[in-house]
């Protein structure tokens, strides 16, 4: 897949993207509606209003008058995706090769790479409002639920400097990966540095867009 940057131009760091994907028990997500939906008159009783801190289904014999920023849709979410690296200044994928060298009697050096153990650290990894991953991992870490993050993630490494919107962007998918919180705390802001361990259980393909709703297509 060809690169989309001009000759001699460096690829911006933001074009190398690591995305974490994980599943959780079904969670209800309520989304505030700002404009009147087309089915308001007929499906009004599938929408919700917020009363106090709770969401209640719209009731009554007919659709109430539409009011913006009042009604919610409910969606059941089981899979989350989140880009890693918001508020992180520097992070690299370390391949950690296991290298073995030997030398013959003529002085020639032979190098064998037995395996790699790719890993990427994010430090700091701040607890940010709206971050489902931070919420998930901090709970798992403090409750010592190792199975919540050990082998629980699918990771996508997207090379946004290869490809384009029409043909997709190059992506390498690793399944059964681990994201390990290593500490929780800090000074002015709460940080939870994480180690991302890739599995090398790889599928190469493309993603069709650069947002959390992307569709991954394995290479043919």
């Amino acid at each position: 897949m060809p690169m989309n940057i001009n000759t001699g131009v460096r690829a911006a760091r933001k074009t190398l993207i690591t995305v974490a994907e994980w599943t959780v028990p079904p969670t209800d997500v309520f989304i505030l509606q700002t404009v009147a939906p087309d089915d308001w008159a007929s499906k009004y009783n599938t929408y919700y209003t917020k009363v106090g801190g709770a969401y209640e289904k719209v009731s009554g014999g007919s659709a109430p008058e539409w009011t913006p920023n009042t009604y919610y849709t409910k969606t059941e979410v089981t899979t989350h995706r989140e880009i890693l690296g918001a508020r992180t200044e520097d992070s690299s994928i370390e391949f950690n090769p296991d290298v073995e060298t030997s030398q013959d009697i003529l002085g020639k050096v032979y190098t064998d790479v037995n395996k790699t153990e790719p890993q990427q650290d994010f430090d700091p990894f701040y607890i940010l409002g709206g971050s489902a991953l931070a919420e998930y991992l901090s709970d798992a870490a403090l409750e010592n639920r190792l199975d919540a993050y050990s082998g629980a993630f699918t990771l996508y490494i997207i090379e946004a400097y290869k490809g384009n919107t029409g043909n997709g962007f190059k992506c390498v998918k690793h399944v059964n990966c681990s994201i390990i919180p290593t500490s929780l705390g800090g000074d002015a802001y709460v940080s939870m540095p994480i180690e991302v361990h890739f599995s090398n259980d790889i599928t190469v393909g493309t993603v069709d867009s650069l947002n959390s709703n992307f569709v991954f297509t394995p290479a043919g």
């Binding site: 760091r13 993207i17 880009i83 690296g85 918001a86 508020r87 992180t88 200044e89 520097d90």
Partner: protein
């Protein structure tokens, strides 16, 4: 895109102490009770790039408050005009920091996330007295610093 200076001035105008008084931007009449917001173009001083393309930036604004000066001494604990003027400016500082603690910030729009807003001093700074005016006019300065994250350069949305 929302102009950040306009957003800050609109925000400051919600302050009860400022609300009733004229607020000028960069230039204006120097009279008792007026406020003048002056910008400092230092956004490049804090230009911290993150790997997702977002950038932490800083916006600094000086709010000068003009108060007429009295030469009557403070007697028997009674406050005089100077003390009242100082206290009024202190109220503005306290209001800004209270808003910050509540995470109530100026509206910079969806592409900007304000991380922190603070005054650079806990007390009003007396930066000068203009004795050429009648009555003489004291200038108290409040330096307001806002750190915000610019999300416009991200490619992941």
């Amino acid at each position: 895109m929302i102009d950040k200076t306009t957003a800050i001035i609109e925000f400051l105008r919600e302050c009860p102490t400022i609300k009733a008084n004229p607020v000028f931007f960069n230039f204006g009449e120097v009279e008792d009770g007026t406020y003048q917001a002056n910008i400092q173009s230092d956004e490049v001083l804090l230009n911290l790039h993150f790997i997702d393309g977002s950038v932490l930036k800083r916006y600094t604004l000086f709010l000068d408050s003009f108060k007429s000066v009295s030469y009557i001494p403070v007697v028997n604990g009674k406050s005089d005009e100077n003390l009242e003027g100082f206290s009024e400016v202190q109220e503005v500082i306290d209001w800004i920091n209270d808003k910050s603690n509540k995470q109530e910030f100026p509206d910079f729009g969806d592409d900007f996330v304000i991380e922190d807003m603070k005054t650079l001093t806990d007390r009003p700074a007396l930066v000068g007295v203009n004795t050429q005016q009648n009555p003489p006019m004291a200038v108290y300065r409040i330096s307001i610093q806002i750190d915000y994250v610019d999300l416009t350069k991200r490619i992941w949305c």
